[in-house]
Amino acid sequence: MQTSSSEPVLVLKDIRKSFGAVTAIENFSLDIRPGEIVALVGDNGAGKSTLIKIISGVHAPTSGSITIEGETVSMASASMARAHGIEVVYQDLALADQQTVYMNMFLGREPVNRFGLLDRRTMISETEKLVKELDVRIPSAHATIRDLSGGQRQGVAIARATRWASKLILLDEPTAALGVAETAKVEAIVQSLKSRNIGVLIISHSLDQVFKLSDRICVLRRGKQIGIRNMAETNKNEVVSMITGLN
């Protein structure tokens, strides 16, 4: 099921990443089109989070190329990925624990008024609006992240990413800490990104979720890319055996 024939937002070619003696990723190639949802699956330590960090500029790949909308880029920092319209929900969420929800929502790109001062009112009202739209249940935009539950934090991280993404969103186990209702909500949010024509790369350990949401599925095992399947042409048994290497 190819959703779109337009130019891919992201093309990864022969990506390789080693940390000293450990090769976390090798020969990884993938492209993601606008409005396409691609799932990345694999066992613990397979290299999924590492791959996301390479795309977002946290890690530089040891070799290989990253192309965004036809332009080959070398991501040296998170700010470059942001400038390209890429947003990430990291596995560790990357929220500043001691700061408020609204500050986190805008951390690194705070709106300022014409005197260069922080525009708290805009931050707070936009945060409240967004939190309501996405139905993230937090005490208030003023709450400190440290005081929130794990699921609420995840909600904030997802809200932040959807607020800013314009081309691509990378989700590293976005529903890991969520209850049933909240998971359903996040899945709805992911599907709505599709209608905004945003590409999605989602990591999940739940094959049910992967089969419900994605257009394609990409399997990693111990840093090696085992294969990419169109959702219509595969089934859970095949994916499980690809993940584990057992038949």
Partner: protein, 374 residues
């Protein structure tokens, strides 16, 4: 974009009823500077009861505000850096080193005051950048890197002073060299002398028998101190850079992932602390007219203590500049206040250590109460 609402109204639940509204009192207790304000009230009460009433006359207040200001300029810089997650133990030695550079420019090279200040500032920026780069590049704790510079700068000052003065460990003649410069009133003496004379004539402030006011003006370091504390507070609370200081200190990894330029923020903060030390050096050198190798000895600890009393956490990401302001005043009050009492002045150090412990314990207890942690 109305995303989840319509598709998922079935799972939408009413607001969580367990959420309590945060009271104004709790919000107040959360402020980091609470401990310093409480400490200031306590110390003021203590001296109001035990000290000679002269302590709280205008002249007495200027007496303790002057040392408070010299420490406070350092402490506000140290507080910003601590909130940003780093320490600078080299600021005490930096005072001596900056004094040497400034003094050498002024009396050995005999360049104008303005140029001497520029030279000292340039050295401060350089030292700040070195401290920052070493900390960032090596990944070592800034505690260790700046501890090394505590010794290096003190040693360089000794060597440099001998070279500049031809063998002595003191350099003299700055007052004369700076006299007449249009910049001199900014860095030495008292501000608003006209105002105080006028107030004296109106009988509002105390005067000597000959009619001149007992307090000839506000010592300039006090004005610098207040201005720096206000600017630092404003930067912390109202600007994007201030927000980045909190983020860089609280969780540098999250900050980096959020595209906050953590290294740049910290570099600027190291430069700011070195500049604060340089300002103190210029003020004290012009005041004394000389500089020596022991200047600023142990000031780094006093500055950090004032910042901690002011609510800064050693782990970074939390604290306040106005807290360091109050913390420094507590310091000045205790140092000078003891001379207004019958208490032996050498209790000062005991008092200091005690204040530090009480402040830290107090801050911890309050924070845990407020956040409900254990």
């Amino acid at each position: 974009m109305s995303l989840a609402n319509d598709q998922n109204s079935a799972v939408t639940v009413a607001r969580d009823e367990r959420l309590k509204k945060v009271s104004t009192l709790t919000a107040l207790l959360r402020r980091p500077e609470l401990g310093a304000v409480a400490g200031l009230v306590l110390v003021t009460l203590f001296f109001a009861l035990t000290a000679n009433p002269a302590m709280f006359t205008l002249a007495g207040i200027m007496n303790f505000m002057a040392p408070a200001a010299q420490l406070g300029i350092l402490a506000v810089g140290a507080a910003l850096l601590m909130i940003g997650g780093e320490f600078d133990l080299s600021i005490g030695s930096m005072i001596a080193f900056a004094g040497l550079v400034f003094g050498t420019a002024l009396v050995v090279w005999q360049v104008p005051l303005s140029v001497s200040i520029l030279v000292a500032v340039a050295f401060a920026v350089f030292i700040g950048v070195i401290n920052a780069q070493l900390t960032m590049r090596t990944g070592l704790p800034s505690f260790i890197v700046t501890l090394a510079f505590l010794f290096i700068l003190r040693g360089l000052t000794l060597v440099g002073l001998k070279w500049a003065s031809g063998g002595a460990t003191q350099l003299r003649g700055m007052k004369e060299a700076a006299a007449g410069s249009p910049l001199a009133p900014l860095f030495s003496g008292d501000a608003f002398p006209g105002l105080f004379t006028a107030l004296a004539e109106m009988g509002i402030v105390d005067t000597f028998p000959n009619g001149t006011p007992k307090v000839p003006g506000i010592p300039v370091e006090i004005l610098w101190f207040i201005a720096i504390a206000l600017v630092a507070t404003w930067v912390l609370l109202r600007t994007q850079f201030g927000n980045w200081i909190f983020a860089a200190g609280g969780d540098p990894r999250a900050a980096r992932k959020s595209a906050v330029p953590v290294a740049r923020v910290k570099t600027i903060l190291f430069i700011v602390t070195a500049l604060c030390a340089t300002l103190v050096a210029i003020l004290t050198v012009l005041d004394a007219g000389s500089t020596d190798a022991r200047r600023g000895f142990q000031k780094e600890f006093e500055a950090i203590i004032a910042a901690v009393i002011g609510g800064c956490l050693l782990t970074g990401g939390y604290g306040s500049a106005i807290g360091a302001f109050f913390g420094s005043i507590v310091f000045g009050m205790v140092l000078i206040g003891l001379t207004y009492t019958s208490i032996d002045q050498d209790w000062y150090l005991v008092f200091l250590g005690g204040m530090l412990l009480i402040a830290v314990i107090f801050n911890n207890v309050i924070r845990k109460r407020v956040t409900g942690e254990r």
